[in-house]
Protein backbone atom coordinates (compact mmCIF):
# COMPACT_ATOMS: atom_id res chain seq x y z
CA UNK A 1 0.00 0.00 0.00
CA UNK A 2 2.81 2.37 0.97
CA UNK A 3 4.54 1.65 -2.34
CA UNK A 4 1.34 2.29 -4.34
CA UNK A 5 0.77 5.65 -2.61
CA UNK A 6 4.39 6.71 -3.13
CA UNK A 7 4.26 5.82 -6.83
CA UNK A 8 0.84 7.45 -7.29
CA UNK A 9 1.93 10.68 -5.59
CA UNK A 10 5.20 10.84 -7.55
CA UNK A 11 3.52 10.23 -10.91
CA UNK A 12 0.68 12.64 -10.11
CA UNK A 13 3.11 15.48 -9.35
CA UNK A 14 5.13 14.62 -12.47
CA UNK A 15 2.01 14.66 -14.66
CA UNK A 16 0.72 17.94 -13.22
CA UNK A 17 4.09 19.66 -13.82
CA UNK A 18 4.33 18.12 -17.29
CA UNK A 19 0.85 19.37 -18.25
CA UNK A 20 2.06 22.92 -17.83
CA UNK A 21 5.30 22.29 -19.73
CA UNK A 22 3.64 20.62 -22.72
CA UNK A 23 2.62 23.30 -25.29
CA UNK A 24 -0.03 21.03 -26.87
CA UNK A 25 -1.71 20.41 -23.52
CA UNK A 26 -1.44 24.07 -22.52
CA UNK A 27 -3.23 25.05 -25.72
CA UNK A 28 -6.03 22.56 -25.03
CA UNK A 29 -6.42 23.93 -21.49
CA UNK A 30 -6.38 27.52 -22.70
CA UNK A 31 -8.85 27.13 -25.60
CA UNK A 32 -12.10 27.18 -23.54
CA UNK A 33 -10.82 30.21 -21.62
CA UNK A 34 -9.83 32.08 -24.80
CA UNK A 35 -13.19 31.13 -26.33
CA UNK A 36 -15.16 32.56 -23.41
CA UNK A 37 -13.07 35.74 -23.16
CA UNK A 38 -13.67 36.40 -26.89
CA UNK A 39 -17.42 35.76 -26.52
CA UNK A 40 -17.57 38.15 -23.58
CA UNK A 41 -15.61 40.75 -25.53
CA UNK A 42 -17.87 40.65 -28.60
CA UNK A 43 -20.98 40.53 -26.34
CA UNK A 44 -23.46 38.34 -28.22
CA UNK A 45 -26.01 38.81 -25.49
CA UNK A 46 -25.62 35.32 -24.04
CA UNK A 47 -26.53 34.79 -20.40
CA UNK A 48 -23.58 34.08 -18.04
CA UNK A 49 -24.97 30.59 -17.38
CA UNK A 50 -25.13 29.75 -21.10
CA UNK A 51 -21.63 31.17 -21.63
CA UNK A 52 -20.33 29.09 -18.74
CA UNK A 53 -22.07 26.01 -20.17
CA UNK A 54 -20.35 26.54 -23.54
CA UNK A 55 -16.94 26.84 -21.85
CA UNK A 56 -17.51 23.78 -19.66
CA UNK A 57 -18.68 21.67 -22.66
CA UNK A 58 -15.62 22.67 -24.63
CA UNK A 59 -13.40 21.91 -21.66
CA UNK A 60 -15.10 18.54 -21.08
CA UNK A 61 -14.50 17.50 -24.68
CA UNK A 62 -10.95 18.83 -24.91
CA UNK A 63 -9.28 18.15 -21.57
CA UNK A 64 -10.40 14.78 -20.19
CA UNK A 65 -11.08 13.29 -23.61
CA UNK A 66 -8.24 14.60 -25.79
CA UNK A 67 -5.54 15.58 -23.29
CA UNK A 68 -5.65 12.32 -21.32
CA UNK A 69 -5.44 10.23 -24.51
CA UNK A 70 -2.62 12.42 -25.80
CA UNK A 71 -0.63 12.23 -22.58
CA UNK A 72 -0.86 8.42 -22.44
CA UNK A 73 0.03 8.08 -26.13
CA UNK A 74 3.01 10.41 -25.76
CA UNK A 75 4.48 8.17 -23.06
CA UNK A 76 4.12 5.18 -25.40
CA UNK A 77 5.58 7.05 -28.34
CA UNK A 78 8.64 8.21 -26.40
CA UNK A 79 9.17 4.91 -24.56
CA UNK A 80 8.88 6.54 -21.13
CA UNK A 81 5.92 4.32 -20.28
CA UNK A 82 8.06 1.23 -20.90
CA UNK A 83 10.76 2.71 -18.66
CA UNK A 84 8.19 3.24 -15.90
CA UNK A 85 6.81 -0.30 -16.27
CA UNK A 86 10.35 -1.67 -15.98
CA UNK A 87 10.75 0.41 -12.81
CA UNK A 88 7.97 -1.64 -11.22
CA UNK A 89 5.18 0.86 -11.89
CA UNK A 90 1.92 -0.95 -12.65
CA UNK A 91 -0.46 -0.05 -15.47
CA UNK A 92 -3.11 0.81 -12.87
CA UNK A 93 -0.80 3.23 -11.03
CA UNK A 94 0.23 4.85 -14.29
CA UNK A 95 -3.36 5.39 -15.47
CA UNK A 96 -4.69 6.45 -12.06
CA UNK A 97 -2.04 9.17 -11.65
CA UNK A 98 -2.64 10.52 -15.16
CA UNK A 99 -6.42 10.45 -14.75
CA UNK A 100 -6.24 12.35 -11.45
CA UNK A 101 -3.84 14.92 -12.92
CA UNK A 102 -6.09 15.51 -15.94
CA UNK A 103 -9.16 15.72 -13.68
CA UNK A 104 -7.34 18.37 -11.63
CA UNK A 105 -6.53 20.26 -14.84
CA UNK A 106 -10.16 20.01 -16.00
CA UNK A 107 -11.49 21.32 -12.69
CA UNK A 108 -8.92 24.13 -12.65
CA UNK A 109 -10.13 25.34 -16.06
CA UNK A 110 -13.76 24.95 -14.93
CA UNK A 111 -13.03 27.09 -11.85
CA UNK A 112 -11.43 29.84 -13.93
CA UNK A 113 -14.42 29.72 -16.32
CA UNK A 114 -16.76 29.94 -13.34
CA UNK A 115 -15.17 33.14 -12.08
CA UNK A 116 -14.68 34.60 -15.57
CA UNK A 117 -18.42 34.39 -16.15
CA UNK A 118 -19.07 36.11 -12.82
CA UNK A 119 -20.69 33.51 -10.57
CA UNK A 120 -20.62 33.66 -6.79
CA UNK A 121 -18.06 31.53 -4.88
CA UNK A 122 -20.96 30.06 -2.86
CA UNK A 123 -22.12 28.16 -5.97
CA UNK A 124 -18.65 26.74 -6.72
CA UNK A 125 -18.85 23.47 -4.72
CA UNK A 126 -22.06 22.30 -6.46
CA UNK A 127 -20.69 23.43 -9.83
CA UNK A 128 -17.46 21.47 -9.34
CA UNK A 129 -19.38 18.43 -8.15
CA UNK A 130 -21.45 18.40 -11.36
CA UNK A 131 -18.31 19.01 -13.48
CA UNK A 132 -16.56 16.09 -11.76
CA UNK A 133 -19.52 13.78 -12.40
CA UNK A 134 -19.57 14.85 -16.06
CA UNK A 135 -15.80 14.37 -16.40
CA UNK A 136 -15.79 10.72 -15.35
CA UNK A 137 -17.21 9.38 -18.65
CA UNK A 138 -14.86 11.63 -20.63
CA UNK A 139 -11.86 10.51 -18.56
CA UNK A 140 -12.73 6.86 -19.15
CA UNK A 141 -13.08 7.48 -22.90
CA UNK A 142 -9.85 9.53 -22.89
CA UNK A 143 -8.09 6.66 -21.11
CA UNK A 144 -9.52 4.23 -23.66
CA UNK A 145 -8.21 6.43 -26.49
CA UNK A 146 -4.76 6.43 -24.88
CA UNK A 147 -4.79 2.63 -24.53
CA UNK A 148 -5.86 2.03 -28.10
CA UNK A 149 -3.59 4.60 -29.80
CA UNK A 150 0.13 4.11 -30.37
CA UNK A 151 1.08 7.77 -30.77
CA UNK A 152 -0.19 11.30 -30.20
CA UNK A 153 -1.21 11.84 -33.81
CA UNK A 154 -3.56 8.86 -33.81
CA UNK A 155 -5.33 10.06 -30.64
CA UNK A 156 -6.70 12.98 -32.69
CA UNK A 157 -8.31 10.52 -35.10
CA UNK A 158 -10.41 9.07 -32.27
CA UNK A 159 -10.75 11.97 -29.83
CA UNK A 160 -11.60 14.58 -32.48
CA UNK A 161 -14.82 12.96 -33.79
CA UNK A 162 -15.78 11.87 -30.25
CA UNK A 163 -15.44 15.47 -29.04
CA UNK A 164 -17.76 16.66 -31.81
CA UNK A 165 -20.30 13.93 -31.01
CA UNK A 166 -20.42 15.07 -27.39
CA UNK A 167 -20.13 18.83 -27.92
CA UNK A 168 -22.38 19.70 -30.88
CA UNK A 169 -25.73 18.15 -29.84
CA UNK A 170 -25.51 19.85 -26.43
CA UNK A 171 -24.61 23.23 -27.91
CA UNK A 172 -27.39 23.11 -30.49
CA UNK A 173 -30.05 21.31 -28.43
CA UNK A 174 -31.91 24.63 -28.18
CA UNK A 175 -32.77 24.36 -31.89
CA UNK A 176 -35.24 21.59 -30.97
CA UNK A 177 -36.30 18.63 -33.13
CA UNK A 178 -34.01 15.66 -33.64
CA UNK A 179 -30.99 17.51 -32.22
CA UNK A 180 -32.76 18.04 -28.92
CA UNK A 181 -33.78 14.38 -28.84
CA UNK A 182 -30.23 13.20 -29.58
CA UNK A 183 -28.78 15.69 -27.11
CA UNK A 184 -30.87 14.26 -24.28
CA UNK A 185 -28.91 10.99 -24.58
CA UNK A 186 -25.37 12.40 -24.38
CA UNK A 187 -23.57 12.88 -21.06
CA UNK A 188 -22.54 16.45 -21.84
CA UNK A 189 -26.21 17.53 -22.04
CA UNK A 190 -26.91 15.80 -18.74
CA UNK A 191 -23.94 17.64 -17.21
CA UNK A 192 -25.15 20.96 -18.66
CA UNK A 193 -28.71 20.40 -17.35
CA UNK A 194 -27.45 19.58 -13.85
CA UNK A 195 -25.13 22.57 -13.97
CA UNK A 196 -27.98 24.96 -14.84
CA UNK A 197 -29.94 23.42 -12.01
CA UNK A 198 -27.15 23.96 -9.49
CA UNK A 199 -26.43 27.50 -10.63
CA UNK A 200 -30.11 28.45 -10.60
CA UNK A 201 -30.70 27.18 -7.05
CA UNK A 202 -33.52 25.00 -8.39
CA UNK A 203 -34.93 21.85 -6.81
CA UNK A 204 -32.96 18.64 -7.33
CA UNK A 205 -36.16 16.62 -7.31
CA UNK A 206 -37.94 15.84 -10.54
CA UNK A 207 -38.10 13.58 -13.57
CA UNK A 208 -35.58 15.62 -15.57
CA UNK A 209 -32.94 15.32 -12.85
CA UNK A 210 -33.51 11.59 -12.63
CA UNK A 211 -33.15 11.28 -16.42
CA UNK A 212 -29.90 13.30 -16.41
CA UNK A 213 -28.47 11.25 -13.56
CA UNK A 214 -29.50 8.04 -15.32
CA UNK A 215 -27.85 9.19 -18.58
CA UNK A 216 -24.62 10.07 -16.75
CA UNK A 217 -24.66 6.76 -14.84
CA UNK A 218 -25.31 4.76 -18.03
CA UNK A 219 -22.46 6.48 -19.90
CA UNK A 220 -20.11 6.06 -16.95
CA UNK A 221 -20.93 2.36 -16.66
CA UNK A 222 -20.67 1.82 -20.43
CA UNK A 223 -17.36 3.67 -20.69
CA UNK A 224 -16.02 1.79 -17.67
CA UNK A 225 -16.86 -1.55 -19.29
CA UNK A 226 -15.23 -0.52 -22.59
CA UNK A 227 -12.18 0.79 -20.74
CA UNK A 228 -11.88 -2.41 -18.68
CA UNK A 229 -12.17 -4.60 -21.79
CA UNK A 230 -9.49 -2.60 -23.63
CA UNK A 231 -7.21 -2.59 -20.57
CA UNK A 232 -7.60 -6.35 -20.15
CA UNK A 233 -7.04 -7.08 -23.83
CA UNK A 234 -4.24 -4.65 -24.67
CA UNK A 235 -2.82 -3.65 -21.28
CA UNK A 236 -1.46 -0.15 -21.05
CA UNK A 237 1.90 -0.83 -22.68
CA UNK A 238 0.82 -2.55 -25.88
Amino acid sequence: MKKHLRVLRTLFVKDIVDMFKNPNVLLMLALPLIFIVIYQFVDLGMSPAYLLMLGVMMNLCLTPLSVLGMMIAEEKEKNTMRTLMLCNVTGGEFLAAKTLAVLAGTLLVDTVLFFLTGFSPAQLPVFLLVCTAGSITMLLLGGLTGIVCRDQTSTGTIAGPLALVFMLPTMFAGMGGVLQKVASFVPTTATADLMFLGLGHQSWMGANVLWDVAVLAAWTAGSAVLFALAFRKKGVDN
Binding site: L11, T80, R82, T83
Partner: protein, 280 residues
Amino acid sequence: MDILSMQNVSLSFGSARALDGLSFAVKEGEIFGFLGPSGAGKTTTIKLLTRQLRPGAGEIAVFGVPIARLDSAAYEQIGILSDNSGVYERMTVYENMKLFADLRGLPASRIGEVLEKVGLADAGKRVAKKLSKGMRQRLILAMAVLHRPRLLFLDEPTAALDPATTAAIHRLLREMNDGGTTIFLTTHNMEEADRLCARVAFLNEGRIAETGVPAQLKLKYAKDRVRVLLEDGETLECARNPEAMGALLAGLSGRGIASVHSEEPDLEEIFLQVTGRNLV
Protein backbone atom coordinates in the same frame (compact mmCIF):
# COMPACT_ATOMS: atom_id res chain seq x y z
CA MET B 1 24.08 -20.01 -7.56
CA ASP B 2 22.27 -19.37 -10.85
CA ILE B 3 20.71 -15.92 -10.74
CA LEU B 4 18.73 -16.59 -13.89
CA SER B 5 18.11 -19.55 -16.13
CA MET B 6 16.18 -20.57 -19.22
CA GLN B 7 15.29 -24.19 -20.05
CA ASN B 8 14.08 -25.14 -23.54
CA VAL B 9 12.46 -21.76 -24.09
CA SER B 10 10.78 -21.24 -27.43
CA LEU B 11 8.85 -18.31 -28.82
CA SER B 12 7.34 -17.61 -32.21
CA PHE B 13 5.92 -14.44 -33.71
CA GLY B 14 3.38 -15.75 -36.20
CA SER B 15 5.21 -18.24 -38.37
CA ALA B 16 8.65 -16.81 -37.49
CA ARG B 17 10.50 -18.74 -34.78
CA ALA B 18 12.38 -16.19 -32.63
CA LEU B 19 13.73 -18.60 -30.00
CA ASP B 20 14.05 -22.33 -30.48
CA GLY B 21 14.67 -24.40 -27.35
CA LEU B 22 16.96 -21.85 -25.70
CA SER B 23 18.76 -23.10 -22.56
CA PHE B 24 21.40 -21.34 -20.49
CA ALA B 25 22.09 -20.12 -16.96
CA VAL B 26 23.89 -17.09 -15.51
CA LYS B 27 25.75 -17.32 -12.21
CA GLU B 28 25.40 -14.66 -9.53
CA GLY B 29 28.17 -12.07 -9.74
CA GLU B 30 29.29 -12.64 -13.32
CA ILE B 31 29.11 -10.49 -16.42
CA PHE B 32 27.45 -12.72 -18.99
CA GLY B 33 27.68 -11.73 -22.64
CA PHE B 34 24.85 -12.74 -24.94
CA LEU B 35 26.25 -12.32 -28.41
CA GLY B 36 24.69 -12.52 -31.79
CA PRO B 37 23.85 -10.59 -34.93
CA SER B 38 20.78 -8.37 -35.24
CA GLY B 39 17.64 -10.50 -35.29
CA ALA B 40 19.24 -13.45 -33.49
CA GLY B 41 16.84 -13.15 -30.55
CA LYS B 42 18.93 -11.17 -28.01
CA THR B 43 16.35 -8.47 -27.27
CA THR B 44 13.56 -11.07 -27.26
CA THR B 45 15.50 -12.99 -24.59
CA ILE B 46 15.79 -9.86 -22.41
CA LYS B 47 12.09 -9.17 -22.87
CA LEU B 48 11.30 -12.72 -21.71
CA LEU B 49 13.60 -12.42 -18.72
CA THR B 50 12.00 -9.11 -17.69
CA ARG B 51 8.41 -10.32 -18.25
CA GLN B 52 7.77 -8.00 -21.18
CA LEU B 53 6.96 -11.14 -23.20
CA ARG B 54 5.69 -14.58 -22.26
CA PRO B 55 7.39 -17.71 -23.63
CA GLY B 56 5.53 -20.07 -25.90
CA ALA B 57 7.21 -23.01 -24.18
CA GLY B 58 9.93 -23.71 -21.62
CA GLU B 59 10.88 -22.53 -18.15
CA ILE B 60 12.42 -19.26 -17.01
CA ALA B 61 13.65 -18.56 -13.49
CA VAL B 62 15.06 -15.36 -12.03
CA PHE B 63 16.60 -15.32 -8.51
CA GLY B 64 15.80 -19.04 -8.44
CA VAL B 65 12.05 -18.42 -8.70
CA PRO B 66 9.89 -19.28 -11.76
CA ILE B 67 9.29 -15.96 -13.47
CA ALA B 68 5.49 -16.21 -13.30
CA ARG B 69 5.73 -16.35 -9.48
CA LEU B 70 8.18 -13.46 -9.15
CA ASP B 71 6.75 -10.71 -6.96
CA SER B 72 7.20 -6.95 -7.34
CA ALA B 73 9.82 -6.89 -4.55
CA ALA B 74 12.05 -9.06 -6.72
CA TYR B 75 11.67 -6.59 -9.56
CA GLU B 76 12.99 -3.87 -7.26
CA GLN B 77 16.35 -5.67 -7.53
CA ILE B 78 16.49 -5.48 -11.30
CA GLY B 79 17.80 -2.69 -13.52
CA ILE B 80 17.22 -2.54 -17.27
CA LEU B 81 18.73 -0.55 -20.10
CA SER B 82 17.16 -1.44 -23.41
CA ASP B 83 16.79 0.05 -26.84
CA ASN B 84 13.26 1.06 -25.88
CA SER B 85 14.13 2.85 -22.64
CA GLY B 86 13.05 6.48 -22.74
CA VAL B 87 13.64 9.72 -20.86
CA TYR B 88 11.26 12.61 -20.18
CA GLU B 89 12.44 15.13 -22.74
CA ARG B 90 10.88 18.23 -21.19
CA MET B 91 12.49 17.45 -17.83
CA THR B 92 16.11 18.14 -16.90
CA VAL B 93 18.64 15.39 -16.26
CA TYR B 94 18.26 15.93 -12.51
CA GLU B 95 14.44 15.91 -12.67
CA ASN B 96 14.49 12.63 -14.60
CA MET B 97 16.74 11.11 -11.94
CA LYS B 98 14.64 12.57 -9.12
CA LEU B 99 11.49 11.03 -10.60
CA PHE B 100 13.00 7.55 -10.59
CA ALA B 101 14.58 8.06 -7.16
CA ASP B 102 11.15 9.04 -5.79
CA LEU B 103 9.44 6.10 -7.50
CA ARG B 104 11.90 3.75 -5.87
CA GLY B 105 11.89 5.58 -2.52
CA LEU B 106 15.59 6.45 -2.70
CA PRO B 107 17.23 9.49 -1.08
CA ALA B 108 18.07 12.43 -3.36
CA SER B 109 21.72 12.19 -2.27
CA ARG B 110 22.09 9.06 -4.42
CA ILE B 111 21.35 11.09 -7.59
CA GLY B 112 24.55 13.16 -7.45
CA GLU B 113 26.58 10.05 -6.73
CA VAL B 114 25.31 8.23 -9.84
CA LEU B 115 25.45 11.30 -12.12
CA GLU B 116 29.10 11.70 -11.08
CA LYS B 117 29.84 8.09 -12.01
CA VAL B 118 28.29 8.34 -15.48
CA GLY B 119 29.97 11.69 -16.13
CA LEU B 120 26.80 13.77 -16.05
CA ALA B 121 27.47 15.67 -12.83
CA ASP B 122 27.69 18.99 -14.69
CA ALA B 123 24.66 18.30 -16.87
CA GLY B 124 22.04 18.11 -14.10
CA LYS B 125 20.25 21.28 -15.24
CA ARG B 126 20.25 20.42 -18.93
CA VAL B 127 16.91 19.58 -20.50
CA ALA B 128 16.95 15.94 -21.65
CA LYS B 129 15.73 16.89 -25.12
CA LYS B 130 19.00 18.75 -25.72
CA LEU B 131 21.34 15.94 -24.72
CA SER B 132 23.64 14.29 -27.24
CA LYS B 133 23.05 10.59 -27.99
CA GLY B 134 25.93 9.56 -25.72
CA MET B 135 24.72 11.72 -22.82
CA ARG B 136 21.18 10.43 -23.24
CA GLN B 137 22.43 6.84 -23.12
CA ARG B 138 24.41 7.63 -19.96
CA LEU B 139 21.29 9.16 -18.40
CA ILE B 140 19.31 5.99 -19.16
CA LEU B 141 22.11 3.92 -17.65
CA ALA B 142 22.14 6.19 -14.58
CA MET B 143 18.39 5.66 -14.18
CA ALA B 144 18.85 1.89 -14.51
CA VAL B 145 21.55 1.66 -11.83
CA LEU B 146 20.20 4.29 -9.43
CA HIS B 147 18.86 1.66 -7.02
CA ARG B 148 22.02 -0.50 -7.06
CA PRO B 149 20.33 -3.47 -8.75
CA ARG B 150 21.40 -7.00 -7.95
CA LEU B 151 20.79 -7.96 -11.59
CA LEU B 152 21.31 -5.58 -14.48
CA PHE B 153 20.11 -6.21 -18.05
CA LEU B 154 21.90 -4.20 -20.70
CA ASP B 155 20.76 -4.38 -24.31
CA GLU B 156 23.51 -3.00 -26.58
CA PRO B 157 24.53 -0.38 -24.01
CA THR B 158 27.28 1.21 -26.08
CA ALA B 159 25.84 0.89 -29.59
CA ALA B 160 26.76 3.97 -31.66
CA LEU B 161 28.60 5.65 -28.78
CA ASP B 162 31.99 7.34 -29.07
CA PRO B 163 35.07 5.52 -27.64
CA ALA B 164 35.41 7.84 -24.62
CA THR B 165 31.77 7.35 -23.57
CA THR B 166 32.09 3.61 -24.18
CA ALA B 167 35.19 3.45 -21.96
CA ALA B 168 33.41 5.41 -19.20
CA ILE B 169 30.43 3.04 -19.34
CA HIS B 170 32.73 0.00 -19.24
CA ARG B 171 34.46 1.41 -16.15
CA LEU B 172 31.12 1.88 -14.41
CA LEU B 173 29.98 -1.63 -15.31
CA ARG B 174 33.19 -3.18 -13.96
CA GLU B 175 32.83 -1.15 -10.79
CA MET B 176 29.24 -2.31 -10.35
CA ASN B 177 30.23 -5.90 -11.03
CA ASP B 178 33.00 -5.61 -8.41
CA GLY B 179 30.28 -4.45 -6.02
CA GLY B 180 28.30 -7.65 -6.63
CA THR B 181 25.92 -6.74 -9.47
CA THR B 182 25.34 -9.52 -11.99
CA ILE B 183 25.25 -8.14 -15.52
CA PHE B 184 23.47 -9.72 -18.48
CA LEU B 185 24.83 -7.95 -21.54
CA THR B 186 23.68 -8.33 -25.10
CA THR B 187 25.95 -6.97 -27.78
CA HIS B 188 27.24 -7.63 -31.24
CA ASN B 189 30.46 -5.82 -30.34
CA MET B 190 32.90 -8.70 -29.77
CA GLU B 191 35.62 -6.42 -28.45
CA GLU B 192 33.26 -5.19 -25.75
CA ALA B 193 32.29 -8.76 -24.86
CA ASP B 194 35.93 -9.85 -24.74
CA ARG B 195 36.85 -6.93 -22.49
CA LEU B 196 33.95 -7.22 -20.03
CA CYS B 197 32.47 -10.70 -19.93
CA ALA B 198 33.43 -13.60 -17.69
CA ARG B 199 31.39 -15.90 -19.93
CA VAL B 200 29.73 -15.52 -23.29
CA ALA B 201 27.07 -17.36 -25.27
CA PHE B 202 26.68 -17.16 -29.03
CA LEU B 203 23.07 -16.90 -30.12
CA ASN B 204 22.22 -17.90 -33.65
CA GLU B 205 18.73 -18.31 -35.09
CA GLY B 206 17.17 -18.55 -31.66
CA ARG B 207 19.56 -21.19 -30.29
CA ILE B 208 22.80 -21.15 -28.31
CA ALA B 209 25.51 -22.19 -30.74
CA GLU B 210 28.41 -22.08 -28.24
CA THR B 211 29.07 -20.92 -24.70
CA GLY B 212 32.14 -20.52 -22.51
CA VAL B 213 34.90 -18.32 -21.08
CA PRO B 214 36.30 -16.08 -23.86
CA ALA B 215 39.93 -17.14 -23.27
CA GLN B 216 39.00 -20.83 -23.30
CA LEU B 217 36.91 -20.43 -26.44
CA LYS B 218 39.88 -18.81 -28.15
CA LEU B 219 42.08 -21.77 -27.24
CA LYS B 220 39.41 -24.25 -28.27
CA TYR B 221 39.06 -22.68 -31.71
CA ALA B 222 42.74 -21.77 -32.15
CA LYS B 223 44.33 -22.86 -35.41
CA ASP B 224 47.18 -24.58 -33.49
CA ARG B 225 49.67 -22.55 -35.44
CA VAL B 226 52.43 -20.17 -34.24
CA ARG B 227 53.61 -17.28 -36.35
CA VAL B 228 57.16 -15.94 -35.81
CA LEU B 229 58.13 -12.54 -37.17
CA LEU B 230 61.87 -12.17 -37.62
CA GLU B 231 63.81 -8.91 -37.25
CA ASP B 232 64.67 -9.01 -40.93
CA GLY B 233 60.92 -8.93 -41.77
CA GLU B 234 60.46 -12.58 -42.73
CA THR B 235 57.49 -14.44 -41.20
CA LEU B 236 57.68 -18.13 -40.37
CA GLU B 237 54.87 -20.44 -39.24
CA CYS B 238 54.79 -23.80 -37.51
CA ALA B 239 52.42 -26.07 -35.60
CA ARG B 240 51.82 -25.12 -31.94
CA ASN B 241 53.69 -27.99 -30.26
CA PRO B 242 57.13 -28.22 -28.62
CA GLU B 243 58.67 -30.37 -31.36
CA ALA B 244 57.68 -28.15 -34.27
CA MET B 245 58.57 -24.94 -32.39
CA GLY B 246 61.95 -26.42 -31.34
CA ALA B 247 62.72 -27.32 -34.94
CA LEU B 248 61.76 -23.81 -36.11
CA LEU B 249 63.96 -22.11 -33.51
CA ALA B 250 66.88 -24.43 -34.24
CA GLY B 251 66.67 -23.49 -37.91
CA LEU B 252 66.95 -19.76 -37.28
CA SER B 253 70.76 -19.93 -37.00
CA GLY B 254 71.19 -16.71 -35.05
CA ARG B 255 68.56 -14.55 -36.83
CA GLY B 256 66.70 -12.24 -34.38
CA ILE B 257 63.04 -12.77 -33.42
CA ALA B 258 60.82 -9.65 -33.43
CA SER B 259 57.61 -11.32 -32.17
CA VAL B 260 55.90 -14.67 -31.65
CA HIS B 261 52.11 -14.96 -32.01
CA SER B 262 49.91 -17.93 -31.42
CA GLU B 263 47.17 -17.88 -34.04
CA GLU B 264 44.17 -17.39 -31.74
CA PRO B 265 40.92 -16.30 -33.28
CA ASP B 266 38.97 -13.42 -31.80
CA LEU B 267 35.34 -13.92 -30.75
CA GLU B 268 34.09 -12.67 -34.09
CA GLU B 269 36.08 -15.32 -35.94
CA ILE B 270 34.88 -17.99 -33.52
CA PHE B 271 31.29 -16.93 -34.14
CA LEU B 272 31.88 -17.26 -37.87
CA GLN B 273 33.45 -20.69 -37.40
CA VAL B 274 30.62 -21.91 -35.19
CA THR B 275 27.65 -20.50 -37.08
CA GLY B 276 28.93 -19.83 -40.56
CA ARG B 277 27.56 -16.29 -40.20
CA ASN B 278 29.06 -12.87 -39.66
CA LEU B 279 28.00 -10.92 -36.60
CA VAL B 280 26.82 -7.75 -38.29
